[in-house]
């Protein structure tokens, strides 16, 4: 017997929607087996990971707060991935966005440099600088690819390590809080440099709204604009796109600029809305997890919002599983890897029919 893949004729809407759901369920089964292998109850783990966080208001808010950076980054990545370009350094762009945006907050600390303008401009300036920093950082691999043909995969990834070391240096050196007892953290941001909460006493901050709005805008750009069509065409049929006169160099730079800017924006929203200061590490790997989010969301902005919530759930569930069940921290990472593999495998069924041939093949 041999098994073959046969391309499907038309694409079925039903299969497109069910494939990610099946992938998540398959990943849960494998994850459950892993938990059992660690000698813990998979049923309890399932509840701790995927049910309990949905039961209380504070954890639901936490879910949205954790999902928003993932959604912002993944929406940017889906422009790149759709065009068959591989920006895998979003983690670095996130860090640069957070660092440079946060720098504005430190510069304006305690009313410094505000003059007669007041302080209303500080937050917008932070967000813009953060997005621009992420964009500039993403343009390094993009320009190297366009000018010299250097693989964007490797350069964008190498830049992640460099960004981490840059932030580490800055918060231990020039940006360290002089009154901070030598801890490697910056001063706490002023209220003027902190993203406002949506309602008092809650966890939701303005970054959640920003992520949601960006996702909706991106969905419209994707399906309704010529640019969205161009991105999809270049990815699906590069030769046809060239004949149609689309400039693939310009497109490369544009999609990298978009994804870098969104990753940078996510970085500064996280720093300003969630952390409130700069510290050596500002991301639990959001830039890499967002890659999973992008694929689980089938590279569409609306799908990404749902997928972002699923992956945010694994972070929150993972934290409580560490406390409640003494499950190791790395289980979350392993589960995320399993999930991406299941998503990719399930994706095959949307494109191909699996056919088994019995007897000798012709």
């Amino acid at each position: 017997m041999r098994i073959d893949l046969e391309p499907r004729q038309g694409r079925s809407r039903l299969i497109e929607i069910t494939a990610p759901i099946i992938a998540v369920m398959a990943a849960m089964l494998i994850g459950g087996a892993l938990v059992a292998a660690l000698g813990k109850s998979p049923v309890q783990a399932f509840f701790v990971y995927f049910v309990n966080p949905l039961m209380e208001s504070w954890s639901l808010q936490e879910l949205a707060v954790k999902a928003s950076p993932l959604v912002l980054i993944a929406v940017g990545l889906c422009f790149c991935f759709r065009a068959n370009l591989w920006n895998i350094g979003a983690e670095g762009q996130f860090i640069m966005g957070g660092a440079m945006g946060g720098w504005i907050a430190l510069l304006t600390q305690g009313g410094a440099g505000q003059g007669t303008f007041g302080s209303f401009w500080i937050l917008p300036a932070m967000l813009i600088v953060g997005a621009l920093a992420g964009m500039a950082y993403a343009l390094i691999p993009a320009l190297l690819r366009v000018w010299l043909g250097v693989s964007e995969i490797l350069t964008s990834l190498m830049l992640v390590y460099i960004a981490q070391l840059f932030l580490d240096y800055m918060v231990r050196g020039p940006w360290r809080d002089p009154k901070g007892f030598n801890f490697p953290v910056s001063a706490n941001f002023d209220a003027e440099a902190t993203l406002p909460l949506l309602f008092d006493g809650g966890r939701l901050h303005a970054g959640v709204v920003i992520a949601l709005v960006i996702a909706i805008v991106a969905a419209v750009v994707f399906s309704k604009s010529l640019f969205g069509y161009e991105v999809r065409l270049v990815g699906a049929a590069p030769r046809a796109a060239r004949f149609a006169g689309f400039d693939d160099k310009k497109l490369t730079l544009t999609v990298f600029a978009i994804s870098g800017a969104l990753a940078g924006l996510a970085g500064i929203c996280e720093v300003s809305g969630q952390i409130g200061q700069l510290q050596p590490s500002i991301s639990p790997g959001y830039g890499f997890t967002a890659i999973i989010v992008a694929f689980l969301g089938r590279l569409s902005p609306i799908g990404i919002v749902l997928a972002g919530l699923v992956l945010a759930l694994t972070y929150i569930g993972g934290e409580s599983a560490q406390v409640l069940m003494k499950l190791p921290f790395f289980l979350t990472g392993a589960f995320q890897g399993i999930l991406l593999m299941c998503v990719l495998a399930a994706d095959v069924f949307t494109r191909y029919r699996i056919v088994a041939h019995f007897g000798k093949a012709a």
Binding site: P7, L154, P328, T332, L340
Partner: protein
Amino acid sequence: MNPQIIELVLITIVTAATPLVIAGVGELVVERAGVLNLGVEGMMIVGAAIGFAAAFLTGSALIGALAAILAGMVMAALFGFLAIGLAANQVASGLALTILGLGTAGLAGAGFVGQKRESVANLYIPGLTDLPFVGKLVFGQDPFVYFGVALVAAVAWFLNRTRAGLSLRAVGENHSSAHALGMRVRRVRFLAVLFGGACAGLAGGYLSLVYTPFWSPGMTAGRGWIALALVVFASWRPWRVYAGALLFGGATVLQLHAQAASIGLPGQLLSALPYLATILALVVLSLRDRRGSVAPGSLGTPFVPDR
């Protein structure tokens, strides 16, 4: 500088280069078969964790190394199933493998953090090893160093001098033509991926058995990615991988010595050197190879046989 210090520096460069050589030459074979496996980092770190665990439990470095190889192959088989069996996107599958590997290694190694074991003994040939200057460098390294050299030689011979190597290159250059000639494209690729996994696993094992010799999460520190860059840098030729690895080994050692000597540059800048060097190397290479890419023709393209 006195010759003894130079010898010492050269020895550390060779040991720093060895994991890059082993992982890099494995990935070279994979890419020559037309498959881009970005999961080297993941396979390496699993090899490091499992290799250390096995060696610690059995007390045998050889069993540790074999376990590391096996672990790398299991990981590679997962990738092969996705990227070759199901023709999934290779970039995404490789990233998935790296994410999975970092998590799995953390799980597998959890009980071994902080444990120590003896490093593998270096070669000692009376007379030869005692030679001045070259003695320790040529005749006094650990077994992995010699294995790395032998591996590169074997791969160079296999690719350029054997019929099977020719088939593998054909599959990588143009999978449709190879398929039309009756070659088993998917089988060749799967075997190449397994070989790459074995090499990456062993390279990880080298880190935890010899180089550091303990296990800590994240200990590969991007070496898998540097190995991937090395393959590009080497224009997909085995001996150039060795030369490139020595350069990167040099950058790593330079950084360590500079940190120890505290020459006034921030430590983070020195730690960033290997990554900066990788980007720089890729840029320099692209300037040299302006005439056109020498990458295997089918690299990264999924293959679905038609009939």
